[in-house]
């Protein structure tokens, strides 16, 4: 079996920007996205907006989202390539953008996204419809099916999910841009309402408003930008068989995505300084620990322990901005903003000491399949 080759041109993130996540009155998603785009351009030190030659947006399953053509018009730019993927959470879109840059089709590309959905701050996120004859909907349902299997097979309990939720909230308390910041304890978690058993209220992320933007460039172009570029080291991808084959969806013991990711970068999980799992639910966060080799299959509960291990000063700081669970749901984009800021050393009270390598890992169910997409990022001196 051949090993995936390195990209022909190196690709870096050169600018990040985001709005506060949370309640935004009647602001529309595109206007929020334009604010985030402006701050990402300032962050990158790019004064001429016409240097952006690629623009990617993203849509939700209900058709809402950022149309890259309409956004370009609103921003007064004329990128030569615009696009939005069918399945577009952050890693999928950034991988597409990285491929456009690596191929030479673009030199400097922006990924912009913003939303201010109805039910912001109240309703559960994850609106996906799988089978309405049987009342099977919401992404949390798929995670729930996976977690029930996990508990059955390994004897794990929902306590580990609670530790994830509580630790995410502790991080959000340190992040003024996070959507949900009121303190939360394990007792609060255990006493919270059962939503889709075995998942409780605090296991599932809620709707919130906000926007973020990422500017990427070829590594040669990146040298002219204002901030330390954060490089793509490698990507890992995997699609599982469909649900009707009866396979475990969230947990992926074959770990093809992880193998591809680590082999291409020539490193392993022990080299990761900070981990950013995309978590529609707490299950996705513990799945990332097992899928990406931070612990053995079934070992997530022992690994997480009382939660301090995944805290800012733990062995494996995780979702230091509060993740989706407490930071606010934004298709994994705020995870990338935080990852870049961590590797640059800009995170103040929640800075992970000397963070040089970051891993973003996502898994998502669409229709009846499940996809994994992950990226390893590093600062230029990571292996110095």
């Amino acid at each position: 079996m051949g090993t995936k080759q390195a990209l022909s041109r190196r690709v870096s993130i050169v600018g990040v920007g985001m709005t506060r996540q949370g309640a935004h009155g009647d602001a529309d998603g595109q206007a929020l996205a334009l604010q985030a785009f402006r701050s990402a351009m300032e962050d990158a030190g790019i004064r001429d907006k016409h240097r952006i030659d690629g623009l990617l947006g993203a849509k939700q399953f209900d058709g809402s989202g950022i149309d890259p053509v309409l956004f370009s018009r609103a921003a007064g730019i004329t990128p030569s390539i615009t696009g939005a993927l069918d399945y577009a959470t952050a890693a999928f879109t950034l991988h597409y953008g990285a491929a456009l840059i690596a191929s030479g089709a673009c030199d400097m590309l922006a990924f912009v996204y913003g939303r201010n959905p109805p039910g912001s701050m109240v309703e559960l996120s994850g609106a996906q419809e799988y089978d309405l004859v049987h009342g099977f909907f919401n992404a949390a349902a798929v995670h729930g099916l996976s977690w029930v299997e996990h508990m059955h097979k390994y004897g794990t309990t929902t306590d580990v999910l609670g530790r994830i939720a509580v630790q995410s909230r502790r991080h959000a308390e340190l992040n003024p841009d996070a959507a949900f910041r009121e303190p939360m304890t394990m007792d609060d978690y255990r006493n919270s309402r059962s939503m889709i058993w075995p998942l409780r209220e605090y296991d599932v992320c809620r709707m919130s408003g906000g926007a973020a933007a990422i500017i990427m460039a070829s590594s040669e172009v990146a040298r002219d930008c204002a901030k330390l570029p954060i490089d793509f080291l490698s990507i890992g991808r995997e699609a599982t068989h469909a649900l009707e084959r009866g396979v475990q969806m969230s947990f992926s013991p074959e770990r093809r995505a992880a193998r591809q990711l680590y082999e291409a970068a020539g490193i392993g999980p022990q080299d990761v300084d900070v981990l950013f799992p995309y978590e529609a639910t707490t299950v996705a966060a513990v799945a990332a620990l097992e899928n990406y080799g931070f612990c053995e299959p079934g070992g997530c509960e022992a690994f997480v322990g009382d939660g301090s291990r995944i805290g800012i000063n733990g062995d494996l700081p995780m979702n230091t901005h509060g993740g989706h669970l407490s930071g606010g749901y934004l298709i994994g984009l705020t995870h990338h903003v935080e990852l870049v800021r961590q590797l640059r050393g800009e995170c103040g009270p929640r800075q992970v000491p000397d963070a040089k390598v970051g891993l973003y890992a996502s898994g998502g169910g669409i229709r009846a399949q499940f996809y994994h997409a992950a990226t390893l990022f590093a600062r230029g001196d990571w292996n110095a």
């Binding site: 559960l124 309405l132 004859v133 009342g135 059955h152 889709i196």
Partner: protein, 135 residues
């Protein structure tokens, strides 16, 4: 038990599946090329891509692969809670999403044997399961 939303068959194969359920018969397509039993219904076998198939009546027995319970109504179309959604693997191989009816919360677990039953409450027939072995 959830309120049910009428199925919208996308092609004549899905239509045939629902027509059979209306006769209280669970039938899936068995590939004549390689023997694979597929679901959801479609024109070609996802294994060998053959278009030759026959409708094979299923035994209707299977077991629970995993099960969740909607404890709070999250959608106005499904106001009645609690209800479960289960992934059921049929003895013939494929797995289906359905509801296991007739059991209360806490009474069902992974591996439990289930058998097909049918609901005609709406203006279509839904395939459901109940706890138990073959009749």
């Amino acid at each position: 038990m959830p309120e049910r939303t009428r199925p919208k068959p996308k092609n004549r194969f899905e239509q045939a599946y629902w027509d059979a359920l209306a006769r209280h018969q669970l039938s899936l397509q068995r590939c004549k090329g390689c023997g694979f039993v597929r679901h959801p219904p479609g024109e070609f076998c996802p294994e060998c891509w053959s278009g030759e198939f026959e409708w094979q009546p299923m035994s209707g027995v299977g077991s629970i692969v995993s099960i969740i319970w909607y404890m709070k109504s999250l959608d106005a179309r499904f106001p009645e809670v609690p209800y479960n959604v289960a992934l059921v693997r049929l003895a013939e191989g494929p797995a289906l999403i359905s509801n296991v009816v007739g059991s209360a919360f806490g009474e069902l677990k992974i591996g439990d044997p289930v058998r097909a039953c049918y609901s005609d409450e709406m203006d279509f027939t839904a395939l459901l399961f109940e706890r138990g072995s073959a009749r």
